[in-house]
């Protein structure tokens, strides 16, 4: 038994540790035991028999958390048969939780986790009310093994992409969303009459209305996709009216109104490398994330391209180049998303008791010159292999040996 326990103990020693919850610690040890972080610090005793990883000269951070994408839900975007993220034909798909659509065997998972991303939000696609998002770790043979939290939030879209669902007008989008909320409340009050068909048809099915109730009771956050300033303000307005726990996503023009956003206590998910103007957001710019950070907005960074979730660190590096501080950027891909998704008691920093999602980098995690040396998810060392590394091995010398 003792031998078994010791086999579960890993000591990463000698590196510079960025706990995120506190200042960096030089020449420190991260002790992992049974999937959890047992200790972090400069004076941590390494138990005899622990597996030692020499990390001298290395940087150690929490695993990165990407609050975006369809990891596990979408293998090849162009192949419909591999897509599980959208409930077609239902624009108020509140009861749709993506979790059971996740494929733990997706080849996208190894490709991305070996670049330092250990946890992602699996987000439904669609329009108006897209469904419920779930947070997963990028390791595990089963959905249950990957699951971190489900649901994390209800997802709604208030951007141009939802206009059809609103009859062609942004005002229609807001009104339809309100009607769904009102009817959910109505349903909660008069469920039996509804079942007996004694009141008029409601805005959605009973299951979808019921699924909105945790949102309306403030138990489940609402992630609202909105980019244009006026759409962001609509989301804030609706959140005030219904006392919702709002999370803004996309938020391309949020840099115009950081004061309103902080006053509302609303966190924001932003993709830093978005700057191409469209009619949904003519004011889109690289400085969005830096200006929000400067304005005190609670901010997490995203990479929304599922197969390249690994570029979250490039997103963060560019946010720094455009004015965020490095510390802000690291927090925005670790502890802040953990806080926003309600899992900061277990995720997002290197502290005793937290889940051992840990990455050992050869240097600054945001730099291209930096490689990933070790990845731990729930304390398990992840082999640095993927279908892509196997292709490399096969074709490294030509002709290949089939």
């Amino acid at each position: 038994m003792i031998a078994f326990l010791l086999a579960q103990t890993i000591a990463i020693t000698g590196g510079t540790v960025y706990p995120v919850s506190g200042p960096k610690i030089e020449n420190a040890t991260v002790l992992i035991r049974d999937g959890r972080i047992a200790a972090v610090g400069a004076n941590v005793a390494v138990p005899a028999g622990a597996t030692r990883i020499d990390a001298a000269g290395k940087w150690i951070t929490p695993g990165l958390i990407d609050g975006a994408g369809q990891m596990g839900l979408r293998e090849i975007s162009a192949v419909q048969g591999t897509n599980e993220s959208q409930l077609r034909g239902n624009e108020i798909a509140a009861a749709f939780n993506v979790l059971e659509g996740i494929n733990p065997a997706s080849i996208l998972i190894p490709v991305n986790r070996i670049e330092g991303v250990t946890t992602t939000l699996a987000v439904p696609n669609g329009s108006l009310i897209l469904g419920q998002a779930a947070l997963i770790d990028l390791d595990g043979a089963t959905i249950e093994a990957m699951r971190v939290k489900s649901p994390v939030a209800m997802v709604a879209d208030l951007s141009e992409g939802s206009k059809d669902a609103g009859g062609g007008s942004r005002a229609g989008v807001a009104q339809r969303l309100r009607r769904a909320f009102d009817d959910a409340l109505e349903y909660s009050r008069r469920g039996p009459s509804y079942q007996r068909a004694q009141n008029e048809a409601l805005a959605a099915s009973a299951a979808d209305l019921q699924a909105l109730l945790p949102v309306l009771r403030g138990q489940l956050p609402l992630i609202a996709i909105a980019n244009r300033r006026s759409d962001i303000e609509t989301a804030l307005r609706i959140a005030r009216e219904y006392k919702l726990r709002l999370i803004l996503a996309g938020a391309a023009e949020a840099w115009m109104i950081p004061g309103q956003i902080t006053a509302a206590g609303v966190p924001v998910l932003v993709e830093p490398l978005q700057n191409l103007p469209s009619y949904d957001a003519l004011g889109i710019r690289y400085e969005n994330a830096p200006l929000l950070a400067k304005g005190g907005v609670k901010l997490a960074l995203m990479e929304t391209t599922t197969e390249n979730t690994r570029n979250l660190r490039q997103q963060a590096g560019n946010a720094v180049a455009n004015g965020m501080t490095w510390d802000q950027a690291l927090r925005a891909v670790t502890l802040t998303p953990a806080e926003i998704f309600g899992v900061a008691d277990r995720y997002g920093s290197l502290e005793a008791g937290k889940v051992a999602n840990v990455v050992v980098w050869s240097g600054d995690p945001f730099e291209f010159s930096t490689g990933v040396e070790h990845v731990y998810i729930r304390g398990r060392e992840i082999p640095l292999r993927s279908r892509q590394t196997e292709l490399l091995e096969r074709y490294k010398t030509l002709p290949p040996k089939y």
Binding site: N227, L276, P277, S278, L398
Partner: protein, 470 residues
């Protein structure tokens, strides 16, 4: 172009991308073999004479001396604390010490880095312009599978608000291509990336037109339910039919050009372009993801006696890097795009590095209005992943992936792509090592004209479209 991120409802234009590939033994540390490029090539069709002529004119500027910089010349040289002198649109001198002419504007670039201007072999700027509505969707003449008769320059919108963003990323030259819906999509436009009122003011004097061809899934998907092709064999038959038509057209015109007997043959725009390909005056730029399909296309090129200049989106080029090196075809690739469709599943980070190692010519291209703003970053990803896999790649070689090598793919390597005396003064001053994520273009000179200065709003071009917006 790939499917953009969908999750957050950010409206991103979806275009159909393209690809080409190619390779040629690329010397790593010496100046590239220059390609004979005659300034008359681009505007002249054999027997027809100049048409749609470039009206490009160099913007007059005082001489500029950039000094105290780390200069990466893309010829194998890295000069610490070096200087570079630009005069009349040309690089006059590069070195550790360059004399300061009395009339020169002096730029102190202490702590900064200098490279050649960035060149993108694969852009849809101007033809798939922002804001990305149907009104700006001018990249695919998707009405029939062979449209060799269309020219990208006739779609190109110089007021595309994405253009200044690319300039701010250090880009000085692009090839604007038709999309990849079609087997043969039309002529490309090779452009100086500068503000202008017309595409002809931007058209690169002396550049070869490209012919956009596309393999694989896109033409199949677009035409499968519309009369075909619906298969890859249908794709091949479509190319062959088109070039068979062009062969006899070319014979008739070549004969008439020689003897001028009787009336000239009737003109046919489609065959006119394809005949120029057969004559070697127009370069084939071929969207092609899969290794086996690239080999098919090389067979096609052999059948009709033309060269493919570059494969584009060549995510599987590394599987045939030896062949591409031998054939002298360039490969325009991404650092890490993969997985968005089946023919893109085998993309690996080490593609460019493996091509380099095999002696093939690697190019990092964008196909994307976002990616074009950071081709330096994409090259950095490809270089460092290559190195970690044990493939030796120098910084100079990686720099060449987005400067000298694309210059070759466009037939411009005797004019741009390196920092050497006599070359066009397309120069970028970076805030740091351009292969760092933190580097930003500080100044961009195009033919000696300071088209972008990060610290000076009077040198930050804004398109008509963006006027009046926040």
């Amino acid at each position: 172009m790939r499917h953009p991120s969908i999750l957050l409802g950010l409206i991103v234009m979806v275009a159909v991308g393209c690809a080409s590939a190619g390779a040629k033994p690329a010397s790593s540390t010496t100046a590239p073999q220059s390609t004979a490029t005659t300034p008359s090539t681009q505007d002249t069709t054999a027997g027809i004479g100049p048409q749609y002529v470039s009206t490009y004119q160099r913007h007059p500027n005082p001489p500029v001396l950039i000094r105290n910089a780390t200069i990466l010349t893309a010829t194998g040289q890295e000069i610490q604390g070096g200087s570079i002198l630009l005069r009349d649109g040309k690089i006059v001198a590069v070195g550790a010490t360059v004399e300061t002419p009395s009339d020169a504007t002096v730029v102190d670039a202490t702590g900064k880095w200098v490279t050649p201007g960035v060149i993108d072999t694969h852009s849809h700027l101007g033809v798939y312009a922002a804001p990305g509505t149907f009104a700006e969707s001018d990249g695919n003449e998707a009405t029939r599978p062979v449209t060799a008769e269309v020219w990208a320059e006739h779609s190109f919108w110089p007021q595309d608000p994405q253009i200044p963003l690319a300039i701010a990323g250090g880009v000085t030259t692009i090839q604007a291509l038709p999309g990849s819906a079609n087997l043969i999509g039309g002529r490309s436009a090779v452009l100086k990336l500068i503000p202008g009122r017309s595409v002809q003011e931007m058209k690169f004097p002396g550049a070869h037109y490209g012919l956009k061809m596309a393999c694989g899934e896109n033409p199949k998907r677009v035409y499968g339910q519309r009369g075909g092709p619906s298969t890859r064999m249908g794709n091949m038959a479509g190319y062959r039919e088109a070039f068979i038509g062009a062969q006899s057209y070319r014979r008739r015109w070549d004969k008439w050009n020689k003897d001028h007997q009787g009336d000239p043959p009737d003109r046919n725009l489609r065959n006119e372009t394809l005949a120029e390909v057969l004559r070697g005056n127009i370069y084939v730029q071929n969207h092609c993801y899969r290794a086996d399909e690239m080999l098919q296309m090389l067979d096609l090129a052999r059948e009709f006696g033309f060269k493919i200049r570059s494969f584009h989106h060549a995510v599987e080029a590394y599987k045939i890097a030896d062949v591409l090196a031998r054939e002298g075809v360039a490969s325009s690739v991404w650092a890490d795009w993969w997985g968005f469709k089946e023919e893109a599943m085998d993309g690996i980070y080490e593609n460019a590095a493996l091509l380099q190692q095999a002696g093939a010519r690697a190019v990092i291209h964008s196909d994307d209005a976002g990616g074009i703003q950071r081709l330096n970053q994409e090259a950095a990803k490809a270089m460092y992943h290559g190195r970690r896999a044990g493939i030796p790649v120098t910084r100079d070689q990686a720099l060449r992936w987005f400067t000298a090598n694309p210059a070759w793919a466009l037939g411009l390597d005797s004019i741009v792509g390196t920092l050497e005396p006599g070359k066009m003064a397309d120069v970028v001053v970076w805030s740091a090592d351009p292969l760092s994520v933190y580097a930003q273009a500080v100044q961009v000179y195009n033919d000696g004209w300071l088209v972008y200065d990060r610290t000076d709003p009077t040198h930050q071009p804004k398109t008509d479209f963006m006027l009046g917006h926040p």
